[in-house]
Structure formats: C-alpha cells, structure tokens
Amino acid sequence: NRFPLDRQHHGGLYKRPFVESFEETPMLVAVLTYMGYGILTIFGYLRDFLRQWKIERCHIAREKEEQRDFVPLYQDFENFYTRNLYMRIRDNWNRPICSVPGAKMDLMERASHDYNWTFEYTGRVVHDVINLGSYNYLGFAENTGPCAESAAEVTVKYGVGVASSRQEIGNLDRHEEMEKLVAKFLGVESAMAFGMGFATNSMNIPALTGKGCLILSDELNHASLVLGARLSGSIIRVFKHNNMQSLEKLLREAIVHGQPRTHRPWKKILIVVEGIYSMEGSIVRLPEVIALKKHYRAYLYLDEAHSIGALGPRGRGVVDYFGLDPCDVDVMMGTFTKSFGAAGGYIAGKRLIEYLRSHSHSAVYATSMSPPVVEQIITSMKCIMGEDGTTIGCERVRRLAENTVYFRKRLREMGFIIYGNKDSPVVPMMLYMPAKIGAFGREMLKRNIGVVVVGFPATPIIESRARFCISASHSRELLDKVLGAICEVGDVLQLKYSRHRIQPSLVRPFDDSVYEDIDD
C-alpha cells in the first residue's frame, strides 16, 4: 500500500530514457578554485586598504557631502565581492548590441582604460558575432517575416501604449484573442497573460496561497518564484534539486505533522517546480512529480519559462516532452520572452483563471500589455501550431531538438564537463576557476563568438560555468564553427576536465553509449 520510494518502479512512468548527468568536480580542480578565490580575497583586502588610505585612486561613487553623517547606505562588506572580484571581469556582461538578437548580432565595441571601472564606446561596431547567449530558442527574434509585419501593422493602428490596467479600460480585443490562443496551444481551459514574466510569478503566487498553506519549492528555483512565495506569506520548505525522495519525505512529514507548532492541517500544499532549470540545464522529473502530487493531493505549479516552445515534439513544453496530460498540472505558467520573441508571461489552468482575473495584483494595478507585443505572440504561436498554413513552426522545433543533441554530444566527446539533460537546449559548461570565467568570455569574443559566463552568486562559488543557449536559427555549419572555437579555447585554457570519455561513434544508437573511465 505504501508508495514505493525506490527507483525501479519509477522507470515505468517514463516513455523515453531520462538521461541527466552532473559530473562531480575533480578534487584537484576544487582545491585550485578555492585557492584562487582565497588569493583574490587577500588582494581585495589589500586594495581596499590602499583605497582607504588614498594610496590608490578610488573610482567608486561617493555619498554627497551634505549627507556624510547619514547612516551609510551600503555596508562595506556587502559590496566586497562586487568591488574586488566582479569589477575585474565586468566586461563580460552587459555587452550592448545594436541589431536583432538572432543567430548573429552586432556588438558595440567598448574599451576601458581604468580596468573596467568606466567604459567608453569607441563608436565601432563588431559585426556578425555569433550569438550563443540570447534565449532565442525557436529563432523568432527577427525583424522580417510575417511576425514583424503584423506587429508593424498593429503599431500603426493601435499605437504602442495602453495607459490603463486590465480591469479598468485597458482590456483590448487583441488581449482576449491572445489568451484564447494560449489556452488552445497548451491544451487547457483558459489562460491569462501579463506584461512581465517576473511579475507573473511574484504577483500570482500570493493570490493562490496565503497563510496556512505550504509551498514546497525546488532548491534552484528562480528568484521570481522565491519572491512570489515569500510575498504570499505561506511557509516555504525546500527540497533537494530534482530529488523525488526528498520531495516525498517533505510531503509525508507535512501532511502527518501539519502546521508547525499548532499541528493544524494545512489548507493547501503547492509544489513549485520549473520546466528547465536555466543554470543547470536539467529538466524536471515531471511524471514522478505528478504521480506524487496525485497520491498526496497537493497542487502543482509548473514554471515553463525556458521549456515552452523549446521541448516536446510539437513544441508545447515539458508536458508534451513527457507525453502527459496538461490537465494534470494545476497551474501552468510560462513566459513569452524566450521562444516567442516577445515579452510577458502567462498563467493557464482549469477553473483557475476566473479567480485570477478578479484577484490578481496585475489585473487590478498594472498596465496591460502593449499591442504590438501581443500581436507578435499571436503570430508566432500560430506559426508554431501550424495554423498559419506553413510548416515553419514544426521545422524549427525539429531543428532545435537536433541541434541540441548534436551540440551536447560533440561537447561531451571533446571532454568538457556538461551539466544537464541530454535534450535541454540550455547547455552549461563548467569552468570552475575564477580567472577562467573572464578568460573564456574574452577569448571567445576574440574569435567573434558571444557567450554568457556566470559565476557567484548565481551559481555556487566553485561551480562557475559558461552557458550556451542553442537556437533553431543556428545552422549546422555555424555550430561546427563554434565547436571548433570552443575546442581551441578549451585547449588553451585547459578546460577539458571530464574523466569519462564517450566513444565517438557515428552509427551507435543513442541508448548504448559506453563509458570508459580513464586512469588518473
């Protein structure tokens, strides 16, 4: 009678192999990384000391003269990391572009003469930099084609702003049409759209749960989910990342013991997970989560910010990828920024949307979405669904899946440590050492490829990584070029940490990859 906790039984829930890997950090690399951070910290203290005693010129902005004796706005130690570590490699982030963020983009050239404290624009433009950083999964970030044309028509007809909230006088007919289309796309009863993906989470989770409810959230959930959970006032408990045993243990404990101290039964339990976790590249174990949710009568909130449009044979997200019924997920949330080339977020579900229409913070207080953005969503969604009469949508979904599998396989073969599921278009490649973060970003830019590198605090301190986002607009030649460059840089910087070597074989079927451990 007891719900089985062991792995074997869960295998029956999956229709295709679920292959995820998070290779352990090699010991030597971990030690060197800690040493690197230690040296940087010592130098940071030294530089702070020099700055305080005015031996070194200080570039940091200072408080106004009249307000010197106010309580300081920032504590010194809060900004230690920013001043001394982030500033050194700051040129890898906030790179301004001046073209469409498609497969190739134009970067504005920046130069710094005082070690990244200030930047100046030389006025030159670096053309045709290969873009591996933008969330352009299906390639809808384009300025030509049917989407752009219909958005242009709507701009001329409706203008750009709305200047009122949904409940007052900002509810256009285009909004209603878009919401019906989103509901049809996902296969649920109804949907509601909001102007910002971050705000969708932070304003609607408080409308769904409140005091006396429990939120079980994954360790690595996005900041918007964490903020929404905190604002709701519910108790939050965190389970280990994608770990179903941890989730089940928490569920059992919660139901058996009730609320803390009073032991009253919980009003509701909400499990909050994401479709694809953008820093790890892992996909949620949705069949198991749904089985658990049904057994324990909890509710499921699925944030498909990265997975909608990018996973699944028809591009309908992680539910489609596992071949499950969308009605099993109570609240489906997603954003339009990534795969649809627009902006905003949506929530969809059954019997849920009427309540949100009247009680969501966004519907009452925030301005509704801009008409051309709405039009872009409608056109791109119709394209993916095939309703515009072409097969462009299907093509792109298929090409994205192929690109993903190919890219990941080749990177593995070269010997890099890649995290995540084999099907996720988000590919994190481990760098570990702080100096390599900056070096990798700059070396790739020299070869005209723009990548995204992430370090602390978005990731644990020793696990800094470079993150590639594969797009359907990347052709096979482009990917080969990129892979060549990565291999070259990997050799120069010694990034090929992986201890497992996959036999590079062209004919071998996918399930049969053979791992061969290398002797140290």
Binding site: E142, A152, T155, K157, I169, S358, A363, T367, V373
Partner: protein, 488 residues
C-alpha cells in the same frame, strides 16, 4: 598511586565509590525521550495521509462578480475609444499628454521594430542591453537633471524592486498611508519595519521621527547601522493630491533620513517643463535620493525608470530584482519613450489645467486643481461598500451609454492596507492635449468636457437616490473593519 589509595580517608573512598556506581547505572539505563509518546506508527501516518483533504486551489467565484466582466475595447485606446461596441470620449485612461496615438511616436516605434524586431530575448546582463536602452537612460537622466537613470520593463515592478534593493531587514521605512499598491509590495518584499504616518500630515511624521530618535539614543550602536527612509508619492494616485515636498526635505536633513519619491502620476505633468513635483516646488533634485516613475502614464509607453545620483542608482544594476532577473524592455517601446521625451521637451506647454468645480450635490471631487486625474466620490455612503460600488457602476454605465467613458477605480479589497473609499476616476486633464490638436477634432474640446459634466450630473440625479445618512467614509474607519495584516 596505590599508596595514595591507602592513605585517603574512608569517607572519601566511599563517596567516590557511590559516584562511580551511579555513573555506571546512568550509562546503562534506558534513555528517557520526552516525545516518546508522540511517535506515530506507520499505519497512523498512512491514515492521516488518507484523511487529509486540501482546500480547493482557488475558492469558487460567482459568475457575476463585479470585477470579472472586463469592458472590451476594440480599436486604439486614444481620445475616442470604442468600448463594448460603443464609441465614447475617453476620460478613463491615463493618457495625460495625449501621446498614445501621436504619429511621430508610432513612426519611431515602427522604425525600431524594423531594426530590432519585437523582443530582446534576454536580461540586461546577457546581451539584452540595446543601444536604445542606453540612449533612453541617458536622455532621462539629462531631462531630469540627475546623474544616472535605470530602466525597468514593467511599471509596477519599478518601485517594487527599488525599495528592497536598499532597505533590508532591520531598517526602518516611514510611509504615507495613501501609498499605492506597488509601494506596499515593495515594502513587503523588503522585510523592514514599516511605520505609517497620516496622509500628508507632517506633524504626524515628525512625531514618528522624534520617537525614532529617542530609540536611537538608547541604543546608538544599533542606530549607526539602521538605515531610515521616507517613501512618498509626488502625486498620490489614491487621493490625487501632492505631498508637501519642501517640508519633507527639511525633515530629511533634520532627522537624517533618505527620501524616495514615487512620481508615476506627476512625471510629465507637474512643473514648468514636466519634470515632476521637484520642479513644481522648486526643490533641488539632488536633495531627493531616488525618484521612481513609470512611463505608462504621461509618456504613453510601457515600463518604468528610477533616476538619481550614480551612488544610489548604480546599486540597482546588481541588486534590483526586476532588473537583473527579467528580460529587458522591448526596444520599440524604448524608442517610443525617447520620442515622447523629445515631444515633451520641445513643447513644454502641453500641461494640464483642468476643470475643478463642484459638479453636483451627491458627488464630491477629490484632488488638487492641477492634478491630471481626479476622483469622484460619493458624498454620502449607503453604509456598505458593495452597494456603493454597484451605484457607481450604474453611473459609469449610464455615462457610457451617453458616450462618455469613465472607469471605476479598482482596488484589491482584501490586500490593501488602507482601503480607499469607492470612487471612480475622471481624467480631466486629458483635454489639455485636445487644445493642442483641436484642429484634428471636429468638436471643440470644451464642448466635450461640458458633455461629460452634463452626463455625470444627469446620471447622479437619476441614480443617486436619497440614501440613509451615514458617516462619510474616511481612511480611519476603514482600517478597523478591513485591514488584514500581511506582515511576515
């Protein structure tokens, strides 16, 4: 050692022997667990799991809930607006300068669309920064005469992300009672101590500041690290009046607190050039630590911005949640905002000078004479909020049939800390833009305003029947009945 054993006095040996025997007994006895009785068997746990029934995810909501039926607008939301199939004069959207259907703005947005597409596909840190964003930020900073500005992609999220970036747990924030909902969410997210002072009441604020000063003197060590802020709005959206900024600045320097000013309604409207309430009062803009506004009212675009000195604003680039973790503003909306700023700079005459007269007995006008959006509130209430709302809804419907579009001011009743009384919004300032482009419209703008006034008067005469005389709504009486504490 054996010799010491023989030399020791007898009582000592006996005592030691008893102690050793006691230790041995304690070591081997069963441990006593306090919660022994609370351990559940497996079967009991299974039974509890079987029995537990959760509440439904959302409470059922009746089909004719007043906020469920949205009015559908077909066509562009400009001066003449088509609601539910009927064409009306628009007195309801916050289109203060009339830039929603300005041709230049649309052309610039179109040009930007042809260059960049619609979306930015990334946050500001990861190739989501476009040159349009940088240009808009520098233009805003120049317009407001501050050092730096930062742009958010959603108006609501601007102040709600700015406050928690500076104020953390243990800090103290003094807020006006009539602060808008986004400020309340920002306060909730910051986890600081919140102290409310009565709306626009400087004596009350001074009293709170004095109390805080006494507290600080008791514990100077803690006071040295506790930051203090005052959060006010330039033009309050809930009461349509301005904050007394010069007095606030005096209090700031006297008690050493920082001021955050929220100028969503007053940006582009107040002041000689439209720079907001600081220009209106002639206050030096450097005295205000942070000015936050959204670009969705006067500027007729989407998004929001904060401006101030670099020392303050730069911090948000790494710790403003709505900035770092969210995609950036679509470039066409940024281009539209730049063009709107250009228009504002070229022609500072498009300000608001609205009609402020007592419309009729039964309705009360709430707001200062130069406010662009005013509230019309019932003079006498029937005692129940629901019936008041229904009454106002009838008035609004009647006016819509007469081709004048008004709107009920919407609030989330359970979530607002100090719930404003039921009212509807009359954006009287809209006509200022008609004066500028009256050549486009056949009818005279004053004519249209008169039409609006006549319809509302007629509506009130017909619908507002004699109601039993009860106390007028005021903020205090609302507190006791409806405030739900949303503290963590």
């Amino acid at each position: 050692m054996v010799q010491a054993f023989y030399e020791a006095p007898a009582y000592h040996l006996i005592l030691e022997g008893i102690l050793i025997l006691w230790i041995i007994r304690l070591l081997f006895s069963k441990t006593y667990k306090l919660h022994e009785t609370y351990k559940l068997t497996e079967k009991e746990k299974e039974d509890l799991i079987e029995e537990w029934q959760p509440d439904p995810l959302v409470p059922p909501i009746s089909k004719d809930h007043p906020s469920l039926n949205y009015d559908v607008v077909t066509g562009p939301p400009s001066h003449k607006i088509i609601i539910n199939g009927k064409e009306c004069i628009n007195f309801a959207s916050f289109n203060f300068l009339g830039l929603l259907d300005n041709e230049r703005v649309k052309q610039k947005a179109l040009a930007s669309l042809k260059k960049y597409g619609v979306g930015t596909c990334g946050p500001r840190g990861f190739y989501g920064t476009f040159d349009v964003h940088l240009e808009l930020e520098s233009r805003l900073a120049k317009f407001m005469k501050t050092e730096e500005a930062i742009i958010y992609s959603y108006g609501f999220a601007t102040i709600a992300s700015a406050i928690p970036a500076y104020s953390k747990r243990g800090d103290i924030i003094f807020v006006d009672e009539a602060a808008c909902f986004s400020i309340q969410k920002g306060l909730q997210a910051s986890r600081s101590f919140i102290k409310y002072f009565k709306h626009n009441d400087m004596e009350d604020l001074e009293r709170l500041l004095k109390e805080q000063e006494l507290e600080d003197q008791k514990n100077p060590r803690k006071a040295r690290v506790t930051r203090k802020f005052i959060v006010v709005e330039g033009l309050y959206i809930n009461t349509a009046d301005v904050c007394p900024l010069p007095e606030l600045v005096k209090l700031k320097y006297k008690y050493k607190v920082r001021i955050f000013l929220e100028e969503s309604m007053s940006f582009g409207v107040l002041g000689e050039h439209g720079r907001g309430v600081t220009e209106h009062f002639g206050v030096n803009i450097d005295d205000i630590d942070l000015i936050s506004a959204n670009m969705e009212n006067a500027v007729a675009s989407i998004g929001g911005f904060c401006c101030g000195r670099s020392f303050v604003i730069d911090h948000q680039r790494l710790s403003g949640q709505g900035y770092c973790f969210s995609a950036s503003l679509p470039p066409m909306l940024a281009a539209a905002a730049i063009e709107a700023l250009n228009i504002m700079e070229e022609d500072p005459g498009t300000k608001c000078c609205s009609v402020h007269s007592n419309l009729t007995p039964g309705l009360r006008l709430v707001g200062v004479p130069f406010a662009p959006a005013l509230h019309l509130q019932l003079d006498r209430s029937s005692g129940s909020r629901d019936s008041d709302m229904q009454l106002l809804r009838n008035i609004v419907d009647y006016c819509m049939q007469r081709q004048v579009a008004l709107t009920l001011a919407r609030y989330l009743e359970k979530e607002e800390r100090f719930l404003p009384p039921p009212r509807y919004v009359n954006v009287g300032g809209n006509h200022a833009s008609w004066v500028g482009c009256s050549q486009r419209f056949q009818s005279d703008p004053w004519d249209e305003l008169a039409k609006c006034k006549n319809s509302t008067v007629k509506a009130v005469e017909l619908i507002v029947v004699a109601v039993p005389h009860t106390d007028q709504y005021d903020l205090q009486s609302n507190n006791n009945s409806r405030r739900t504490d949303k503290k963590e």
